[in-house]
Symmetry: C2
Subunit: 512 residues, 2 copies
């Protein structure tokens, strides 16, 4: 527990005269103070990230499988800090703490805190621990919102931000669920307007409903169907209000459990903080510019040199398989801010950083690929590229890349337009359906299958295939200007009859 005597000015304008932040640490801070990793927790977890206490061996930290000697966050190498947040009910100053002005619990008078406030308090904790810059901030869900906010509030104090299971902002549907949960708590007669601590009651009914609701939103409809189906607890549905379906049993259990240990005032404030968080349309831009700004301001070594452990052998090997990537790397200007749509395991972004010092973000929907990006040390946002670009403001990037993904896109026009809205230029590569081998197979009455088009017609993810000529027509229609074109076959440029002899096309486009 760290106690801070300096008052903390909150976003709301209110001021906390003093506050505590609960935390735990694992591993040792090195002499250079460069190996600290901040772990931010989700709603029902706490700063108890790993291991257990002698007195309570069953209470194992919530990320014990990730944090420890030899584990992904290796505590022989990293100094891991698990931090609670301001307003929590797990030890930091919060609604159940004593209000120094009254000598009684704050209750409803505890100020509304925001994600910015949480990060502000954690920055004080970092100061206290002597950490000028974290090697990484990592968090899932609510913790991810903190990890994102660190990139906005203190871009120069973190090297990486690892954002797991997060949105830059809540959707109206998320807000709606939060509102129903808040109303369930606030209309519980035991809530007493938030001043229930000295009344000997707790609004457990409202908390229970809130948690049941939360657990509905943690699973998609499909996942819930897969996990619970319409399984019955009794042989047949009964004609009363007892539990019939497994899903009912699960929700009641989760609700009951949560209501025994969580605090209603903390719940309300946390839900509100989530609603208000608006990291969107900002962080990518700010995060990408932070390295340069940080270097300029503080004469820190460039990020490329600070990370000598990248396995360089990945690059040539990869490039043999995907010859378009070499061209793309050459076309990206040194230091350009890059967005790679459908980035896979992040190889291209690594090459771009390595060879062009171009910082970038990947957009990827596939779980395994997102995890691969994280292990490859690549910034990645898990969103659907067909709808997710609305996150970014105009011209957030110097270059937006869609490499060998165009043919799998459904809203082709929309995605291409979005690329040249959020980026100053677009680089697009795709397999050329005009290659003679495809033409020959079609001429013989079959859908083509080749190295460049390796799928059978009935299982191909390539839903919108095109030829070089088709793509150029579409560019004209969209008012795009083709700045460069490279058509390849077996990795070699094809200059003669490219639409016939090239199997892979790469374009660099801008708006007029």
């Amino acid at each position: 527990m760290a106690h801070f005597d300096q008052p903390l000015r909150l976003r709301s304008g209110a001021e906390l005269p003093a506050f505590d932040i609960a935390y735990e640490t694992y591993g040792t801070l090195n002499a250079a103070r460069s190996n600290a990793v901040l772990v931010c927790h989700a709603l029902n977890a706490s700063h108890h990230v790993a291991g257990f206490y002698e007195a309570d061996a069953a209470n194992i930290g919530w990320w014990d499988n990730l944090v420890g000697p030899g584990k992904p966050l290796d505590t022989r190498r990293f100094f891991v800090v698990g931090s609670n947040y301001l307003g929590s009910c797990f030890g930091s100053t919060g609604p159940a703490s004593i209000n120094p002005a009254t000598g009684r619990p704050w209750g409803a008078d505890f100020p509304v805190v925001t994600v910015e406030d949480w990060v502000e308090a954690q920055a004080r904790l970092a100061d206290r621990l002597g950490i000028e810059r974290f090697a990484a901030v990592i968090g899932g869900s609510l913790g991810a919102m903190q990890a994102l906010q660190w990139t906005l509030s203190y871009p120069a104090r973190i090297r990486h931000s690892i954002v797991v299971a997060a949105a830059a902002r809540l959707t109206p549907q998320n807000i709606a669920f939060n509102e129903v949960a808040r109303q369930a708590i606030m209309t519980d007669p035991d809530f007493h307007g938030g001043h229930y601590y000295d009344k000997g009651v707790v609004p457990t009914r409202g908390l229970r409903i809130a948690r049941m609701l939360g657990h509905i939103t943690y699973l998609s409809g499909e996942a819930m169907a897969e996990k619970f189906g319409r399984l019955l607890r009794r042989g047949a549905p009964g004609f009363d209000f007892d539990i019939d379906f497994e899903i009912e049993s699960y929700l009641r259990y989760q609700g009951d459990k949560f209501a025994t240990y969580f605090d209603a005032n903390t719940y309300l404030r946390t839900a509100l903080a989530r609603d208000r968080a608006r990291a969107a349309r900002q962080p990518a831009h700010r995060l990408l510019s932070r390295d340069r700004r940080a270097r300029r301001a503080r004469r820190l070594p460039a990020r490329g040199r600070a990370l000598p452990r990248r396995p360089a052998q990945l690059l040539p090997q990869h490039r043999a398989v995907r010859p378009d990537l070499a061209a793309i790397v050459q076309w990206v200007a040194p230091g350009a801010r890059v967005l790679d749509l459908g980035c896979g395991d992040g190889s291209l972004l690594r090459s771009l950083w390595h060879e062009r010092q171009a910082p970038g973000y990947g957009v990827e929907i596939d779980d395994d690929s997102v995890i691969a990006c994280v292990s490859n040390d690549v910034n990645v946002l898990q969103v659907d590229l067909e709808s997710g670009l609305s996150l970014f403001s105009d011209h957030s990037f110097d270059c937006v890349i869609l490499s060998q993904t165009l043919q799998a896109v459904h809203h082709t026009e929309g995605v291409l337009r979005e690329m040249l809205r959020v980026g100053r230029e677009a680089i697009v590569s795709f397999p050329n359906f005009g290659h003679w081998s495809a033409r020959l197979q079609v001429a013989l009455g079959r859908m083509p299958v080749s190295d460049a088009l390796p799928y059978e017609w009935y299982e191909t993810p390539n839903v919108h295939q095109c030829t070089v000529a088709d793509f150029e027509d579409l560019c004209r229609r969209l008012g795009f200007r083709i700045r460069e074109r490279l058509v390849l076959h077996h990795g070699k440029p094809v200059r003669l009859l490219p639409n016939l002899l090239g199997s892979l096309a790469v374009y660099r486009c801008t708006t007029q």
Copy 2:
């Protein structure tokens, strides 16, 4: 209001010694008693379907735009019956009614009723009104569950069932939402275990939460985002628990309104009835066989002759545009039960009924097409054909049709397999990518655009195109036996080099 003195045995085994059903009628029952339409209502509506009362001109029936002279349910032609359901709080016998055994309101002692029970009581109402067979039963949402149940309980007493915005059964996620709503009501201290009527209180807090939750589920996340966005009520988000977002205001308003007029015990029982309803894997089969059974049992005229008003001119015109349909109609055996996937406006099903007396169901996802089906007098289920066939049990149909839709299917193998699980045979038609004009265009380096393939590559819904040869390969792979094949061009059969000269292929397949 109709009062029934004969006891009603419920599905639960309980018996209601007597009961009332509230209803309204519009129009006149004809001499043949063949023009009655039963309208079943959704949760927050009632039997007051159309018009208004002199004393309460503002209270206009909930389907007034559909029911009335000259309206779709034309009361100059139809005798429309709006029926309330048993256990409702809008006039029929329900939890707030007096329990004759105690002389006090039933409250929690009112038995749990099911959708079957509702239909049973409505059948008594039909008897009372002298209606042996309804021309149609129609309902949306909760009303649709009743319309579906009619097809199970009394297939011979309805000519059509029009099912709007319905599922054959609730998903686990639906059940989960219902459970949270029920728990919100049952844990409201004013609920008093369901015996609140004579305590002068109503569990409005729980009802309010239940309704707020309901309103989240009535809109998809996308629709909610479109309707409300993150619009703020105040200039900037405040630092308190007042309303900030429009969606919060909307939910509180809906919740408050509902809690003033709805009854908590009715809510609980209605939600339970919805959870328990299991029309799935059954109704299509039973509905489709009902005409023949009904005819056999009661010597009723066949359905085709009973409906002379079908506009026959639709068919030839349609067939000119879609020459595959003529072949399909010829291949379907007279009286066969048919499922048409991606049925559009239902034209094919009309032809099949008209010419082959083959009763059928359409599956269609598009709203406008579903509405067109309803006006075309075609049974339609609004589900996604790529996942929705799990509704049907094995061999529910004699024939499952996928006409000119294969090329727009993503899970090609899965859909084809499902077709021959739920049907004894499958009829598939698709545009032939092997036609010489497509081959020629590809040979010239362009994606083909033609009469049969009318879309540009970047906007085509055809994601999995194939040639005649490709399709036959896949059939071999899947173990399908091709029983008949017809390849057409400009509506004429192509016998020579069909993969080259045919633009449209039609197949009839069975499992080995």
